[in-house]
C-alpha cells in the first residue's frame, strides 16, 4: 500500500482541530501552550459550544491566545482575568466562560482575583499553565519557581531566606469551599495529554452545570527560559516539578 493510497482512501486519525485557526503560533518551538490550545479547541468542539464560548486571555506568553482559537475572547488587565470572567459569566449564564493564565499572571499579580473568584464559587474554569518561570519577559523568578532552581533573577538558585517558598495555587484552591473541581495535570506524553483533555472537559461540564469554580493546573515547561531542549525540559519537569507539584485530582465535589 503506498502513501498516496492511504491518504486518499484511509481514515483521518488526527487532524488539527478546526477551531484552531491557521495563524502561526508565536510560541517557542516545543512550548506546551500549543498542546493545551489544541485540547481546549477540541473540548469546545466536542461540547458543541463553538458559538457559546467566551474566553479571557491573560498577560504573559499566552496573551495572544485570542489569535489562535476561534471563539469570543476578551483581553484582561494583568492578573484580572478571573474578575472579568466572573462578570461575563454573571451576565451570560448560558455561556461557557474560562480564563487561560500562566503562573506570572495567576499566581503573582492576580493572586487576589484568582482566590476570590474561586471562593465566590463563580461558575467559571481557570486553566493555569505553571512553568515555574516568567517566560515572556526572559526567564525571571516566579512565585512558583522551585527551591534551588536557577533563573536570571536568582542565578544561584532560589533560597528560602531570600525569596521565600514556592506557591502551590492548586493546593490553596482545593481547601476553598467555593471550588468544585481542582486538578493538576501535565502534557508531556500521549496518555498525560489524554488525561489533561478529560480534566478540561470535566471542568467545563461542571461550570456549565453550575456546580462551582474549577481550576485545571497544567504543570508545564519553558524550554527557552530553562535553557533546555523541548525533550530535556520535559525530563527536567518530570524529575523536579512533578515531585513538588504532584499530579492528579485534588478535589472533585461535582460527582455527588
Amino acid at each position: 500500500m503506498t502513501r498516496e493510497e492511504i491518504i486518499k482512501t484511509g481514515d483521518v486519525v488526527y487532524r488539527k482541530p478546526e477551531l484552531l485557526n491557521d495563524t502561526p503560533m508565536h510560541y517557542c518551538p516545543g512550548c506546551p501552550h500549543g498542546v493545551v490550545h489544541k485540547l481546549v479547541a477540541e473540548v469546545i468542539d466536542e461540547m458543541g459550544m463553538r458559538d457559546k464560548t467566551i474566553a479571557v486571555s491573560p498577560v504573559g506568553c499566552s496573551v495572544f491566545a485570542y489569535r489562535y482559537i476561534d471563539v469570543d475572547w476578551e483581553e484582561a488587565a494583568h492578573g484580572r482575568a478571573p474578575a472579568l470572567a466572573s462578570a461575563i459569566k454573571r451576565l451570560w449564564p448560558d455561556r461557557l466562560v474560562f480564563t487561560y493564565q500562566g503562573d506570572g499572571d495567576l499566581a503573582c499579580i492576580g493572586t487576589a482575583e484568582t482566590i476570590h473568584a474561586l471562593n465566590r464559587s463563580e461558575n467559571i474554569t481557570i486553566i493555569f499553565i505553571n512553568n515555574a518561570i516568567y517566560g515572556m519577559t526572559g526567564g525571571q523568578m516566579a512565585p512558583t519557581t522551585l527551591l534551588g532552581q536557577k533563573t536570571v533573577t536568582c542565578p544561584y538558585g532560589r533560597e528560602v531566606a531570600l525569596h521565600g517558598y514556592p506557591l502551590k495555587i492548586a493546593d490553596i484552591a482545593a481547601i476553598l469551599p467555593g471550588t468544585c473541581y481542582v486538578t493538576r495535570q501535565t502534557v508531556d506524553t500521549v496518555p498525560a495529554i489524554r488525561k489533561a483533555k478529560a480534566a478540561i472537559r470535566k471542568a467545563f461540564d461542571y461550570s456549565m452545570q453550575g456546580k462551582g469554580s474549577n481550576l485545571v493546573e497544567i504543570v508545564s515547561t519553558c524550554n527557552s527560559g530553562w535553557k533546555l531542549s523541548p525533550e530535556k525540559s520535559f525530563e527536567w519537569m518530570r524529575e523536579n516539578m512533578v515531585p513538588f507539584y504532584p499530579l492528579g485530582d485534588l478535589k472533585d465535589t461535582g460527582k455527588e
Binding site: 500500500m1 502513501r3 493510497e5 492511504i6 491518504i7 482512501t9 484511509g10 481514515d11 483521518v12 486519525v13 488526527y14 487532524r15 488539527k16 482541530p17 484552531l20 491557521d22 502561526p24 503560533m25 510560541y27 517557542c28 518551538p29 516545543g30 512550548c31 506546551p32 501552550h33 500549543g34 498542546v35 489544541k38 506524553t189 500521549v190 495529554i193 489524554r194 531542549s229 523541548p230 525533550e231
Partner: protein
C-alpha cells in the same frame, strides 16, 4: 490481526522543528531534515521510514503547533 498502515502529512511551513514528534513516535518513522529548512529557517519533521507507520497519531497528539495530519488504513 489485520495490519494497519499509516501515513503522516506534516505541514512543513507550520513546523518549528521542536523534535517532540520524533521522540514520541514508537516506530521511529519521523526525523528532522538534516539540511533543508522551511521559510522560517527551522529544520522540519518528515517521515523517513514511511512503511513502518501504524497510524497511532502519537506524533500529531504531542505536536504543539498542530502541524501533523495522520491517516490510517487497514490492510485487506
Amino acid at each position: 490481526m489485520a495490519k494497519m498502515h499509516g501515513a503522516v502529512v506534516v505541514d512543513v511551513e507550520r513546523c518549528k522543528g521542536c523534535n517532540l514528534c520524533v521522540a514520541a513516535c514508537p516506530q521511529k518513522v519521523l526525523e528532522l531534515t538534516p539540511k533543508t529548512v522551511n521559510t522560517k529557517g527551522y529544520h522540519y519533521s518528515q517521515p523517513v521510514k514511511e512503511e513502518l507507520c501504524i497510524g497511532c497519531a502519537s506524533c500529531a497528539i504531542v505536536c504543539p503547533d498542530g502541524c501533523i495530519t495522520v491517516y490510517r488504513k487497514k490492510e485487506e
